[in-house]
């Protein structure tokens, strides 16, 4: 694609990514959305979830969020508290977190105060697993 979209992923620790891409997919709080060049300007809340961009035909995956995304015609700025690439995710650790959260959840009732906390942890672990799997998927090709 000749016209490329500028993408910036800003986290508290560093500029996680800065460059031109052809497409970005973000998990908004209202569901996933994709951005191509010439998108209508908008501002969306970003939930913790999968984030990916396509550069030179290759997709790169992140587990990122929460935060917000600012979209203008030619630029996407994503401001999130964390953005982890698959390489930065430790598979064993995530598995452990997932099992722990599941074990806690099975013990707790839905009304329990800490239920949300563990449900959240489980969701995060699942997102990370998904990112890991996608990464493996792209490597096979």
């Amino acid at each position: 694609m000749a016209e490329e979209l500028t993408l910036e992923i800003v986290t508290p620790e560093k500029l996680a990514f800065s460059g031109t891409v052809s497409e970005v997919t973000v998990t908004g709080t209202e569901g996933e959305f994709g951005v191509l060049i010439g998108h209508m300007p908008f501002l969306s809340a970003v939930a913790f979830g999968e984030l990916n961009y396509t550069k030179e035909g290759k997709k790169v995956y992140f587990a990122a969020g929460p935060g917000y995304a600012e979209v203008t015609e030619s630029k996407v700025t994503i401001i999130v508290e964390t953005a982890e690439t698959a390489d930065a995710i430790n598979e064993d650790e995530v598995k452990k977190q997932k099992e722990e959260a599941e074990a806690q959840l099975s013990k707790l009732g839905k009304d329990d105060e800490t239920y949300d906390k563990f449900a959240n942890a489980l969701r995060k672990a699942e997102v990370r697993m998904k990112v890991l799997e996608k990464k493996k998927g792209t490597e096979k090709h």
Binding site: L43, A45, Y68
Partner: protein, 293 residues
């Protein structure tokens, strides 16, 4: 004759060893400080973006009912105090502790209840017997990331929304330079967005479509903004601690050097005195012999 030569020599050796330690600590602090400053640098764009979007949202959503904006008559107050875990950093901790003591005194005089959330061991040790400490985060400043700010955030945001207390403050040392850290106490909750009055839309600015609604977006950004402020406090504290330690250890190294010079001088004098006495003895002896002969 005072102390023996050996005593002075031993002392000089001890001072020399102390100097080696203080100099090593100075260098360690210097490298950690560099790291901490880099993190502050990297954090700035993120903090700026969050503040910007919050202000622009706050100016659009007037009369928001978000619980984090609710202003109540302050009766119960919470304060996050950030100190270091370790000492040997000059007046770093005592300065912030003094300001917080002043703050507590002033608020208590107004009939308000103050309780604390302590980050860092030094602050907790001072306050735990005097003021209710709701929660503490000890030995966390060595290596931390945004998730520490989230944990502290969890501790304060929920109870505020449930109206368990009315105002939240944060106290930390602002990092000015290696030689100077300034204690600051600022209010975190209720959040006071700077853009209360609608700002002029700058020329050429794009009108955004907000998704979900502006109000819901605000509900997401507000806790993030609070975490930004907490994280900033953590970063400033960490940089300040290393800066203060670096300065303190630099001073200590200089003092050691001075002391060693004084000791060397004293050693030389004592040695000279010993030689003189010995000479006197010999001369005295020789004289006695010639007189006798």
């Amino acid at each position: 004759m005072g102390e023996s030569l050996r005593d002075i020599k031993r002392k000089a050796k001890a001072v020399e060893k102390t100097k080696q330690i203080t100099r090593a600590m100075n260098m360690v602090a210097a490298s950690k400080l560099k790291n901490a400053q880099l993190r502050m640098e990297n954090f700035r764009p993120y903090a700026q973006k969050i503040t910007e979007v919050l202000n622009s949202l706050a100016s659009r959503v007037s009369g928001s009912t978000n619980p984090l904006l609710a202003v109540r008559e302050p009766q119960k107050i919470r304060l996050i105090i950030m100190t270091s875990d370790r000492g040997l950093c000059g007046g770093f901790n005592s300065n912030i502790i003094k300001s917080v003591e002043g703050f507590i005194r002033q608020r208590t005089a107004q009939g308000q209840e103050v309780s604390l959330i302590c980050v860092g061991k030094k602050g907790r040790d001072v306050f735990r017997k005097k003021v209710p400490v709701i929660s503490q985060f000890i030995e966390v400043l060595g290596s931390f990331n945004i998730s520490l700010a989230s944990k502290i955030g969890e501790e304060v945001l929920g109870p505020f929304s449930k109206e368990e207390y009315d105002e939240l403050y944060i106290a930390y040392n602002e990092f000015r330079s290696i030689a100077s850290q300034k204690p600051v106490i600022t209010r975190l909750l209720p959040v006071s967005a700077e853009g209360e009055t609608p700002q002029e839309v700058p020329e050429g600015a794009v009108e955004y479509v907000y998704e979900p609604s502006e109000e819901e977006l605000l509900a997401q950004i507000l806790p993030m903004y609070v975490r930004v402020l907490i994280f900033r406090g953590l970063l400033e504290t960490s940089a300040g601690e290393h800066g203060a330690r670096m300065a303190a250890m630099d001073n200590a190294t200089k003092n050691c050097e001075e002391m060693r010079q004084t000791l060397t001088l004293r050693f030389n004098k004592a040695r000279q005195a010993a030689i003189t006495t010995e000479l006197m003895d010999i001369v005295g002896g020789a004289e006695a012999l010639t007189k006798a002969g």
